[in-house]
């Protein structure tokens, strides 16, 4: 089963917000995460697929069938809501059996299938409890079981972890991935938590102002962001405005960088992008030529902020003209850094 958006546009009545010309495809067994700031349109993407709203233009296609005009109940998609939305008056097994009940499955069979599904998310021993007796994480498991019990054509997860404690979030993330992999179902995950998206998604789509900015594997997004927005939104980053001075040299607000300038001509405006973990502290005794065959850009400054995060420190180094963010596991004082040429990417200027 594949889930597809074909040139889909939608604006809310009386508003200018919405989504514009979105095309996406989620293959069988694939997990696509949509991330973006609030108001970027990521929830609208989910609502369109679930059938809560209909596209103004374009088509929503499930398994080669246009479902744009179908109601949510006719689409056969499992949805896990942010607040889980377990029916408070039904026992857990009744909640999980509900999609089977409305499909006319006999009571005995739907009970055994519900219990089986509850077993798959480790909640079988609580089958007779009411949802109010459960913690957030447990409700999440039951909601997942309920969304999958009727063999839906796709699974939609709407900020599924945002209501959980940070410690539980990682555990549930793995749990969702395990269940999703086991059922081999096309899955759409909407989240504002980029770490969540990067860690479990096969592909991640970044939304901004109702438009798709970039879609790619987590690695592509992190290492080769399409522009400064994606670079800044996904992970920590250093972004400096600059200009190509000559072949292999970029002049920026904090100094010059030695890097690959292929495809650009002298005078071109660029944004210089470097991940903080690629900025390397330099010991005072280290010769400036260190860095192997590629030339490295060197900077010196004073520490503006030094945050201890356990395994690493996140340091802001104040240099002339700006700030360099770096992450290091070293415990020594930092006054100079070097940035290898292969750590530097040039993005379109803002």
């Amino acid at each position: 089963m594949t889930l597809k958006y074909e040139n889909v546009s939608f604006t809310y009545p009386g508003a200018t917000t919405g989504i514009f010309d979105i095309s996406l495809e989620i293959g069988k067994g694939e997990l696509l995460a949509i991330i973006g700031a609030s108001g970027s349109g990521k929830s609208t993407i989910l609502k369109l697929l679930a059938g809560f709203v209909s596209p103004d233009r374009g088509r929503i296609v499930i398994d080669d069938k246009d479902v744009s005009a179908l109601s949510p109940e006719a689409r056969r998609l499992g949805v896990v809501f942010q607040n889980y939305a377990l029916f408070p008056h039904m026992r857990l097994w009744e909640n999980v059996a509900y999609p089977l009940k409305v499909r006319g499955v006999a009571k005995g069979e739907r009970q055994s299938r519900a219990l089986d599904m509850l077993g798959r998310v480790g909640m079988r021993n609580r089958a007779d409890d009411l949802p109010a007796a459960l913690s957030g994480g447990q409700q999440q498991r039951v909601a997942l079981a309920r969304a999958l019990v009727f063999d839906p054509q796709g699974l939609l997860l709407d900020e599924p972890l945002s209501a959980l404690d940070a410690s539980l979030r990682v555990e549930m993330r793995d749990e969702i991935l395990r269940v999703q992999r086991a059922s081999g179902i096309a899955t759409l995950l909407v989240t504002h938590d980029q770490e969540e998206a990067l860690s479990i998604a096969d592909k991640v789509a970044v939304m901004r102002d109702g438009r798709l900015v970039q879609i790619g594997t987590p690695r592509e997004l992190y290492e080769t962001p399409a522009n400064a927005y994606v670079a800044g939104f996904v992970g920590q980053s250093n972004l400096w405005q600059g200009k190509v001075r000559s072949h292999g040299v970029v002049e920026s607000e904090i100094g010059s960088f030695a890097c690959d300038t292929q495809g650009r001509s002298p005078g071109d405006a660029v944004t210089v992008f470097v991940r903080p973990e690629r900025v390397l502290p330099v010991a005072d005794s280290e010769p400036k030529s260190a860095g192997g065959e590629l030339p490295a850009s060197h900077f010196s400054g004073v520490v503006d902020a030094d945050r201890y995060l356990g395994p690493i420190r996140r340091i802001d180094l104040k240099v002339s003209g700006g700030l360099i963010r770096l992450e290091t596991h070293l415990r020594d004082a930092v006054t100079s850094v070097r940035i290898p040429a292969d750590a530097i990417r040039l993005l379109p200027a803002n």
């Binding site: 009386g14 679930a50 059938g51 809560f52 109601s71 949510p72 109940e73 689409r75 056969r76 998609l77 499992g78 949805v79 809501f81 607040n83 939305a85 029916f87 408070p88 008056h89 509900y98 999609p99 009940k101 409305v102 499909r103 009411l130 109010a132 309920r146 969304a147 009727f150 939609l156």
Partner: protein, 261 residues
């Protein structure tokens, strides 16, 4: 503060207490309290054909008002909650609340003007009285139900049920009614309490044969004091039962809302 509370309590309950005493007193004239003890007044009220008729009429009106409130109020509240947004929602709320703001008298005069015409000659009929009670009580039902639907997060549950394959009717049957049940019962009991005691509108639009209990009760005060007291106590008892049941069920529905939140 306790003094104020006690004074208020006395002010509220002294008349009720005196009515209760008077309904069992053999005679009550020119004394502070009645003298003697008798069941006679209750027997007389029970035997009086116009009171018996009015009692039955009142129960019928209450029953029909409650049924109409469910039939009209529930879909209306549902439509406001699910469909109406922004200005439409505000307008819908205002219109439903209007009968509370407008004095009963004004409403009654309106009824008299409209329904005494040749085209709509229904003034004095039983069904017009029921319609009048519906207009007066509907705002309470709609307001309570809309508030409860919001608090219960009914739309979320409905969305969830829809994605699980439940049709509109299945959602109403499996989600809306069970979740909203206690609120609905509590609203109906409030409606019953309001309808039982309604006098102003009923007095002006009820026909002679469809007079509800409070309207007939007024006549009682032209006769023996004991009789009037006994007749009033009957009404008070009915209203008190409805109010008590209403507050008990609303506690039940609050528990449900707490579970949903």
């Amino acid at each position: 503060m306790p003094i104020v509370a006690i004074a208020y309590f006395l002010f509220l309950f002294a008349p009720v207490l005196l009515l209760a005493l008077g309904s069992f007193g053999e005679s009550w004239s020119n004394t502070l309290l009645p003298t003697g003890f008798t069941w006679r007044w209750y027997e007389e009220v029970a035997a009086d054909p116009s009171f018996r008729r009015a009692f039955v009429t009142s129960l019928q009106i209450v029953g029909i008002t409650c049924v109409l409130n469910v039939l009209v109020g529930l879909p209306l509240a549902y439509a406001i909650q699910v469909g109406a947004k922004g200005g439409v929602r505000l307008a819908a709320r205002l219109v439903t609340l209007l009968p509370v703001a407008v004095p009963d008298l004004v409403l009654a005069f309106g009824f008299i003007l409209v329904f005494s015409s040749d085209q709509l000659p229904w003034l004095g009929s039983f069904w017009l009285l029921a319609a009048g009670h519906l207009v007066l009580t509907l705002p309470y039902t709609v307001t309570a139900l809309v508030a409860d639907m919001e608090q219960l997060r009914l739309d979320e549950y409905e969305h969830a049920a829809a994605t699980l394959g439940a049709s509109f009717f299945a959602r109403i049957r499996d989600i809306v009614f069970p979740l909203l049940g206690p609120s609905l019962v509590s609203s109906m009991l409030t409606v019953a309490a309001l309808s039982i005691g309604e006098f102003q509108l009923s007095n002006l639009i009820a026909g002679f044969l469809s007079r509800p209990y409070p309207v007939v009760l007024l006549q009682a005060f032209y006769g023996a004091t004991g009789f009037a007291c006994a007749a009033t106590i009957v009404l008070l008892l009915l209203a008190a039962i409805a109010s008590l049941a209403s507050s008990l069920t609303s506690r039940l529905s609050n528990n449900k809302k707490a579970a949903a939140a």
